[in-house]
């Protein structure tokens, strides 16, 4: 669905987005291991996968910290009179941050082609939506900023595709923003630090997995329509797992970055000495990092 001038930026649950825009499993896995062959040379880690050549701007750790950036990407497209959009993904936990509201005001006021996509899994870390957010439908807050909004079921792949393409059309043809809320779920805890024992039941998770898993549902649909056989589905699964296993091997065998890399990729000017104009000292640790 993404055209030449459609861009993506997201929060820290960014592995799926990375693979979706075409990043490789090897570079992503190596990044998780902190290896030099990682997509950020081991300098970003799990929350910070980037691929500007694929119009993918990260991977951001601070909740809603990416929402003004998303408005900025959309602003740059409009400034350069390019027909495009910025899909700025976020979680339900981000909608209460001030920076998000500032971004909405700018997007609504200046007609920015940004699509704020709220992946609502019902929990911001361990706190349920009803205990965090005033007002029932999160996307509906768009109305306060004169922004169009919509909501859809994340387990229906085709509905998600349809609604997203409507938002993209609004961005491309009218240069206007959208807030699209997608209701979904999260099987594991917020992060490895979350034992996930206190805020929801095992039954709730199991029920969702049984009845609403989007990949299962879509596979069943394709099979029932005769587009895919059981055997083919199994093959796809197997191949994906194999690729993932290989990426682990790749990561394990890759080297860590050399020590002098700590102070590289900090300043464009330092990394491009043939273009350097500034003088003086820019790094201040004593002694300097040894290779």
């Amino acid at each position: 669905m993404m055209g030449e001038h459609d861009h993506v930026i997201t929060a820290y649950r960014d592995h799926g987005h990375a693979l979706a825009v075409g990043m490789g499993m090897n570079e992503c896995m190596a990044e998780l291991y902190g290896k030099y062959t990682g997509c950020s040379k081991g300098k970003g880690g799990s929350m910070h996968f980037f691929a500007p050549d694929k119009n993918y701007w990260g991977g951001h750790g601070i909740v809603a910290g990416q929402t003004p950036l998303g408005a900025g990407i959309a602003y740059a497209l409009k400034y350069q009179e390019l027909k495009g959009s910025c899909m700025c993904f976020m979680g339900d936990g981000a909608v209460n941050q001030g920076a998000y509201h500032e971004s909405l005001n700018l997007a609504g006021l200046w007609d920015l082609p940004v699509i704020y996509i709220i992946e609502n899994n019902g929990y911001s870390m361990g706190t349920s939506q009803e205990r965090s957010s005033a007002g029932e439908i999160l996307a509906k807050r768009a109305e306060g900023y004169n922004i169009a909004w919509d909501i859809c079921d994340g387990h229906d792949l085709e509905e998600v595709r349809q609604k997203t393409s409507e938002a993209m059309a609004r961005a491309h043809n009218e240069c206007k923003p959208t807030i699209l809320e997608i209701d979904t779920y999260r099987y594991r805890g917020h992060s490895v630090a979350d034992p996930d024992k206190t805020y929801r039941t095992k039954d709730e998770i199991a029920e969702y997995q049984r009845t609403k898993d989007p990949i299962n549902l879509y596979r069943e649909k394709l099979i029932s329509q005769g587009v895919l056989t059981e055997a083919e589905a199994k093959e796809i699964d197997k191949a994906a797992r194999a690729e993932a296993e290989e990426s682990v091997t790749f990561a394990e065998q890759s080297p860590f970055p050399p020590t002098e890399e700590i102070t590289r990729d900090v300043y464009w000017e330092e990394d491009n000495p043939e273009h350097k104009v500034s003088q003086g000292r820019i790094f201040f640790q004593d002694p300097p990092v040894e290779g």
């Binding site: 861009h7 930026i9 990682g38 997509c39 950020s40 040379k41 081991g42 300098k43 970003g44 880690g45 910070h48 980037f50 691929a51 500007p52 050549d53 701007w57 990260g58 991977g59 951001h60 601070i62 910290g65 929402t67 003004p68 950036l69 998303g70 408005a71 900025g72 990407i73 959309a74 602003y75 740059a76 497209l77 400034y79 350069q80 001030g98 920076a99 500032e102 971004s103 005001n105 700018l106 006021l109 102070t263 590289r264 990729d265 900090v266 300043y267 464009w268 000017e269 990394d271 491009n272 273009h275 104009v277 500034s278 003088q279 003086g280 000292r281 820019i282 790094f283 201040f284 004593d286």
Partner: protein
């Protein structure tokens, strides 16, 4: 203003945004004339929304635009702290060098104007402590123009700390274009008896003190204006220290982790044998900026206090 106009002429990816920059012509009239010349697409009035518009500028810079964000006061950067001190300096690093942020943020960074504690911050020390950022503090209109041009051409985020007193400086500025590279200090007054290192408005205060030292005490002080904090011109400082053997540091930052804490460490580390006495320092008095005008004057470095500390440094 000239600097911005020249760069906006040269490169149409350069644009400016901030509160009251367009129709109001800038709260200190810095952007006067830009709207007429370049139009509303490139000179943009923003709502009062620092986290929003600075973050937006960072996102646009990642995409290749070259925004110049104006903050009405650098104190307001605290509203945008996550964007300016977390996103702007870190995006390049976390992407392993795949992205960069050619952003300039400018505004007045000074106290002494009776606006109270929350409006009176000098923010250069926070910026200087942040790898990924560059920060400059010009003390004269001439330096401001040259440094702003360098900042706009720089492909890294540069925080430009202006000064409301500076805006009234009617010094000579050449018509022709010139750039002052970052990382170059400037000896504003030569002398052999004492090195005074300062930046921003403290440079002007130090020059006044130097006049008094000469007239009333026969002391020739050398005043080194840092101009650029990060990157830092250590060589010019050290050359002066090796010549005079006595050092006084003057800053409008508060003492703990003020810029001069770093300068002091650096001098004793690299020129210890050249020092004939401890390095002395005048910082702002360590309390929130007081409102009452006569006390606010005493809270910031003022010529008599600098003279007094200079004499201490010469003991």
């Amino acid at each position: 203003m000239q600097a911005m106009a020249e760069e906006m002429d040269r490169d149409d990816k350069v644009m400016t945004m901030g509160e009251e920059v367009a129709q109001f012509k800038g709260s200190y009239k810095v952007t006067e004339g830009l709207l007429e010349r370049f139009g509303a697409k490139r000179v943009i009035d923003t709502p009062i929304s620092e986290a929003g518009f600075t973050g937006m500028a960072i996102g646009a810079a990642m995409m290749g635009l070259r925004p110049i964000c104006e903050l009405m006061f650098w104190s307001f950067s605290y509203v945008a702290f996550d964007q300016l001190f977390n996103n702007a300096p870190n995006v390049r690093y976390m992407s392993g060098g795949l992205a960069n942020v050619p952003l300039v943020v400018r505004g007045p960074s000074n106290g002494g104007t009776s606006v109270g504690a929350t409006h009176s911050h000098t923010v250069e020390n926070f910026a200087a402590n942040t790898p990924g950022l560059k920060v400059v503090c010009p003390a004269t209109a001439y330096d401001a123009k040259g440094l702003l041009k360098a900042a706009i051409c720089d492909n890294d985020p540069v925080f430009f700390m202006g000064n409301t007193i500076l805006y009234n400086d009617t010094g000579e500025i050449p018509e022709e274009e010139y750039i002052i590279p970052l990382g170059l200090a400037d000896v504003k007054r030569e002398g052999a008896d004492l090195t005074i290192v300062a930046h921003g408005r403290a440079t002007i205060t130090s020059l006044k003190a130097a006049e008094v030292l000469k007239a009333e005490h026969g002391i020739d002080a050398e005043v080194v204006d840092l101009r650029s904090i990060r990157p830092l011109d250590e060589e010019t400082i050290l050359t002066s220290v090796r010549k005079t053997n006595r050092v006084l540091l003057v800053e409008e930052n508060k003492p703990f982790c003020g810029v001069d804490a770093q300068i002091s460490h650096m001098i004793q580390e690299k020129a210890f044998d050249f020092l004939d006495g401890p390095i002395k320092r005048v910082s702002a008095v360590d309390a929130p900026a007081i409102y009452s005008p006569p006390l606010e004057k005493l809270q910031l470095p003022y010529p008599e206090r600098v003279v007094k500390e200079a004499l201490e440094a010469l003991k």
